[in-house]
Point group: C2
Chain length 676, copies 2
């Protein structure tokens, strides 16, 4: 390392001419200018904070971005992506300058917002404000729980921190309340958040719409709050970080007063630096102010050397590897289990657990699928210690608490999280648990309140995370609680999220298969749509194929004149209607289609083998019809509900809205008659 004495002094004193930060600022300005779009303001405003954290504090190994015991870093203000790309590039990750030159271009490793899986060192996809903070809470919880599960006296193999940057926008979002409140209650002492307190959001000076006493607010959550930190003073930042590292019983918020776009002589401190290129003239002036004489995208060798975190990172990860080897020698089974958990592989007992789940469901008989979900969860939890999760204050309604549940508040090695009434925070925390590794998270609420969590569900899908969403009370059959609690558009609406598998099982056995499919899936999230009310068991034919087919034939007379396709609780109605129709000489096929995504992923011939193209199709689902009209086609019908429900007992509503075997049979008669 060849670092000048001047630069070493500036490591303490900072200043605009500090080459370390000038490099970050210049790269941000240059990349945004080259892309003709992007956000220079936050990267320039947070350069000193980032430099102190990444060069001296963050325990990371640029050569091994997946090193299990690395500190996690989350850029919750994801629009500041060029700050992160600059950091990754300068500290030595596999992100060459050519990629920075292609900022925001097609198939570059430097997309407009950081994307998990696209860029080494990016721990989560951010941009939708507030969610990064919640992801970080999930990561910190994962660290704490994993440490309690795997560390042994004299063998500390899990011991890292989670750092998060966030701006005013994150703090205005409601999810910041949910996540910070729970983090405080859980005492996540290794979570350290930096607030980029620049007083500016997109519409201008935040004082016009955001006048919270944020330090007081976070103290009210039980956080350590460090105020009055000059976010451009390396020594002040380092001193605050030292206090944050020392507090191990609660999370820390470091309030850093900064100037947005710092270094841009005429624009800094103004919202115009937030989300648009500074322009050639302003950039030239900024370069002059920083004494940065280098052309765009050029960083001199001594600055690279000052930033290079590879030697320190290699030492850190090598030390860990040595310690892990000692751990593996002392606890070979634990070490193997740790490696399995971190790799995301299912345990050897998974197939047996699935068999046990199915057997338990069969024994259960007629139960609500939420109850069947609990039965399956209990069976899988025995074999999968990586299962961790809970409900947003509905554990005994969603039935996501099971005999093996131990609250993390009572036992740090526990597996049950009481999330409180915080659906959005819960879901984004689950994403953080999944991103950290070592866990398969599940979360639960009423289906209608999936709305509250919707963008976090989307983020699970966008990142391809194995998160299981348990959404119960799935239709108007909720009954008396009325339209605020009765999902109508929700099942179909979830199906529209790319990459999310939506399972709506028809009985207990299908519920076990759905849980199995959700756990076996490595590349994305699953929503389990479960009933409040009991459903009778259906025949077992085709159950085992469901993870591939997404659908199965329950009633299949050779001479069927029509096909009834149903999901979930409406399958029972379909089979009853089919029995009535058969009795009067109208044979119909009944198909249960718990997972449309898996059905549609099949070749056309396989789909036609389940739902023949040459006979009328009647679809039954107690929800919006629009999504099913393609399958029903012009000769078919969709029996659904394109209006809100009512508050009344279940049976009255099913009758009112035509979800009875008699009403379905009548529609089939009409459809067959029209086709004949």
């Amino acid at each position: 390392m060849t670092m000048s004495a001047t630069m070493e002094r500036q490591d303490q004193q900072g200043g605009l001419a500090w080459p370390v930060t000038a490099a970050l600022r210049a790269l941000a300005m240059d990349a945004v200018e080259a892309a003709k779009s992007g956000h220079p303001g936050a990267p320039m405003g947070m350069a000193e904070i980032a430099a102190v954290l990444w060069r001296s504090v963050l325990r990371h190994d640029p050569a091994d971005p997946r090193w299990p015991d690395r500190d996690r870093f989350v850029l919750s203000n994801g629009h500041a992506s060029m700050l992160l790309y600059g950091l990754l590039h300068l500290t030595g990750y596999d992100l060459p300058i050519a990629e920075l030159k292609r900022f925001r271009q097609l198939h570059s490793k430097t997309p407009g917002h950081p994307e998990y899986g696209m860029t080494p060192g990016v721990e989560t996809t951010t941009g939708p404000l507030g969610q990064g903070l919640a992801n970080a809470v999930g990561m910190a919880l994962a660290e704490k729980t994993l440490a309690a599960q795997f560390n042994r006296p004299g063998h500390t193999i899990v011991d890292h921190r989670t750092f998060v940057f966030m701006g005013d926008g994150c703090l205005m979002e409601g999810i910041s309340h949910e996540a910070a409140s729970l983090a405080g209650r859980l005492g996540l002492g290794k979570l350290i958040a930096f607030w980029d307190d620049n007083g500016i959001s997109i519409d201008g000076k935040v004082e016009e719409w955001f006048a919270d006493d944020t330090p007081a607010r976070f103290r009210a959550y039980g956080w350590q709050v460090l105020t009055g930190v000059d976010g451009h003073d390396p020594a002040a930042i380092a001193a605050a970080v030292a206090l944050a590292l020392a507090a191990t019983d609660r999370p820390t918020l470091i309030c850093c007063r900064t100037t947005i776009g710092r270094g841009a002589p005429t624009k800094q401190g103004h919202q115009d630096t937030h989300g648009a290129p500074l322009g050639a003239e302003e950039i030239a002036r900024a370069r002059a102010a920083m004494g940065w004489t280098h052309p765009p995208f050029h960083v001199p060798a001594d600055v690279y050397a000052a930033w290079d975190c590879r030697p320190r990172g290699k030492a850190l990860s090598a030390d860990w590897a040595t310690r892990f080897a000692a751990y593996a020698a002392a606890f070979p089974e634990l070490a193997a289990e740790f490696e399995r958990r971190l790799a995301g592989d299912l345990p050897e007992g998974f197939a047996a657990a699935a068999d046990a789940a199915l057997a338990a469901e069969t024994a259960a008989g007629s139960v609500a699928t939420r109850k069947a979900g609990q039965i399956a969860l209990a069976a899988f939890a025995k074999a999968l210690p990586e299962l961790i999760g809970g409900s947003a204050d509905l554990a005994h309604s969603n039935l996501t608490i099971h005999p093996g549940s131990t609250p993390v508040t009572r036992d740090p090695a526990g597996n049950q999280i009481f999330f409180g009434v915080r659906e959005f925070g819960m879901s984004a925390i689950a994403n953080g648990l999944a991103l950290h590794g070592g866990f398969v998270p599940f979360v639960a609420t009423f289906l209608v309140f999936s709305d509250y969590a919707r963008n976090a569900v989307r983020m699970s899908a966008l990142m391809g995370l194995r998160v299981v969403y348990v959404f119960t009370h799935d239709s108007i059959a909720v009954g008396e609680d009325g339209p605020t609690h009765q999902p109508i558009e929700h099942v179909e609406s979830l199906r529209l999220i790319p990459g999310l598998d939506v399972w709506r099982p028809a009985d207990a056995a299908e519920t076990a298969v759905a849980w199995q499919a959700a756990l076996a899936r490595r590349d994305g999230p699953t929503a389990l749509i479960l009933t409040r009310q009991a459903l009778p068991p259906q025949p077992a034919e085709g159950l085992a194929d469901l993870p591939v087919t997404g659908a199965r034939v329950l009633v299949g007379p050779a001479d069927a004149v029509a096909t009834l396709v149903a999901t979930g609780s409406e399958v029972r109605i379909a089979t009853e209607a089919a029995a009535a129709l058969a009795a009067e000489g109208v044979p119909v096929r009944v198909v249960s289609m718990p997972c449309v995504e898996r059905f549609e992923a099949q070749p056309a011939a396989a789909r036609a083998a389940l739902v023949p193209a040459d006979r009328p199709v009647v679809v039954i689902e107690a929800g919006t019809t629009r999504g099913w009209r393609g399958l029903a086609g012009p000769s078919g019908r969709v029996i659904g509900l394109d209006r809100f429900g009512e508050s009344a007992p279940e049976k009255d509503l099913l009758k009112l809205f035509g979800f009875t075997a008699a009403a379905v049979a009548e529609v089939v008669r009409e459809t067959v008659g029209a086709a004949a």
Copy 2:
């Protein structure tokens, strides 16, 4: 009024035997028991708070529930509906005991959660936690703004308060942060919230998951916070309310320590009282403890008399009517305008404003539809002073700020709200503005972040409120910001919400029509889906009919062999493809369908006149395809996007994903060829 001396003393001292509260508790127990479902815990825990507020403080007239200057009451913990029904019944609203006996039954006026429009005196639909608080913030803001717009020296015709009850669940929800933070900044001094601090939520003692110092948190928002109030002591409650009424510069939170299910001897203080009937035995014991010897649903005359708010209410509303008459004499035009605004009627100049908007759009030429939205908004705002709204920190991106905008923070009579980065709170506040009356609210964010606000949009639709949602940056054409900011499933997902009109205009003129339709609609909300990028103007044919037809023919050769249906920015691509196809002898029809809901509301013949049933249909929309497959039918095709986008310039993405005239023309050729 014949009230015993004992009862009068108990008005000060309370106690379980206080007949006023015993009646409320008994009615809640009885109704839940009769319905075999419901929530007795909160009604019983908040009985004293409710009695003090409704009998002595709330300025309401049971005989005239729509009296404009009444105080507003919001039950944010909507599961406590029987508390509200009991209050309405006992104070003299048109809600007879027969309706309480039919609690939660089909078509009763006493649904499981309070529903706006179903029951006199219910000001908003609640149940989804936290939103009631935000509705109340909207109501309080409406009062403050309406007062500033209409009151004149010596003539105070708008002067009422908004009271809200909320539980721990509301306070855990993120939306409580958004709403309370903004309420503090706006200094809504007439907003008074009661926190039912009973330490219990559904999963048990909240201390396990909710350990906030809530008073400190609300002080951090700038609220007056009154702590240590015994929520079962009428005198303590009254004293706190007096302090709340006196603070006119900021909202007040009254923290009331209560016991959930108070009066149920063995179950009180436990979560079991929350959401299930107490059972006959416990109810009998509670009756004994309260000295309440009456049979179910029976309230003695002297208790009715003690509750009767009709005489006081009549005096209050009559006094207001007298004052309003004097106001009308002094300011006849203002008074007429006030009455028009409260009635929700559009002004006489509405049609002219619509013409002006359309003319301005025509003059604008090729603009982004977000810009066209701003042009229309500016034109309508001149004629509609009831238009109030703003953006969640994207005013200059959504283009919802216009030349007539005045921030409510600078001028209390203003019309522009800087909501901050608070999409969910913003939308629920808009519902409150609409519910209050006198305003037509609009709110804005990026379409992708409609996810954050989704359940509030649903609540607008469920309540049938005229709220205009402006969702811009509506497709992958957002470009460089990448998949976190590119809507895919959102347009279709909004279409699934019953009662919500979704408009995706193809050009500036259609945008003006969409705004016009949104404002003219009295019975529900509208989402305007607008582009970031410029779109060329399309022919004017059929524009005027769009509010009825939802679709129009842009290219209509008599011999068309196929129909291209497109929305929004894809209409341009469809017309270009049609031109290319026409040049090679393949005549196709092009239909712009900005509003599917209006199209589908038409008779089949009218729909077929626009989209002929006998020719192949190709639909183009840069979003999920599932919803369109019905219209396309088995012989047609849907050109859409069932995966997430990418970060890249717009033109690269449109090419990558096949949204070019050449790619569309090729699909049409294939489709026509297959059909031939």
